[in-house]
Symmetry: C2
Subunit: 144 residues, 2 copies
């Protein structure tokens, strides 16, 4: 399984960075995960950088956005295990993502109706990718 996470800005919070790294490592045991942190700036600049980063991608592009569809962890696991191609996730910055970026995606996913910081989204998404793998592979993990 090949995964890529394209995020705007660095994970500055040390505790969240540690938790995210922990799940990135867990994912690496089952596939390849590449994380790209784009430079932050204005919404326009950030979205231009995302589109540029997506230009050469041919996999399944999933963009995280509050207006996206919510999935259960089981359904998310189904998406990941049935994709049969690289999965590219996009997490915007605090200003969110332009319609152009959302149009470039095959799926727009919402992690919750509640609003979280984009740093928290990095952690949630990484944990959910690992949980999705655990569900698909029948690996014992909390609450699955």
């Amino acid at each position: 399984m090949l995964f890529k996470i394209i995020a705007v800005g660095k994970l500055k919070d040390k505790a969240l960075a540690a938790k995210t790294a922990e799940f990135e490592k867990r994912i690496q045991a089952f596939g390849k995960l590449e994380v790209v942190e784009l430079k932050d700036g204005t919404k326009e600049k950030e979205c231009a950088r995302i589109l540029e980063a997506l230009e050469k991608e041919r996999g399944l592009i999933i963009v995280l956005s509050e207006e996206g569809a919510e999935l259960t962890s089981q359904a998310f696991s189904g998406v990941i295990s049935s994709a049969n191609r690289k999965l590219i996730f996009v997490i915007g910055g605090p200003y969110g993502l332009s319609d152009e970026v959302k149009k470039r995606a095959e799926k727009v996913l919402s992690l919750s109706k509640m609003t979280f910081t984009h740093e928290m989204c990095r952690f949630f998404l990484t944990e959910q990718i690992y949980r999705a793998i655990a569900i698909a592979k029948g690996i014992k993990y909390h609450n699955d």
Copy 2:
């Protein structure tokens, strides 16, 4: 504002404990937050301990459960700021909560369709309580 979080088990993960403590401290600047960690055990024993802890409570009891209603952070802020009484939140352990506990609650709240560990729920809930206060009081905070 008076808040109480009744949780089953301790927050053992150091990074999540640090993040949760950070938001508990932020909440304390605007009200009183009491956190009670009940001893874990079988689902039956955990739920009996929760019901016992709830016995003397007269505030608005909100139980976290996957089958609960999802709220936006704005709507959650509305619930908190219009409650005019103590808010008591209940987070179960990995086995979940009995119907008896759910019936004791005035509201059953779901943080996401996705499943998270109960330790992650502690952190998410604490952050959302702070975010709710920030929204209600017009305090500048990420993504609100």
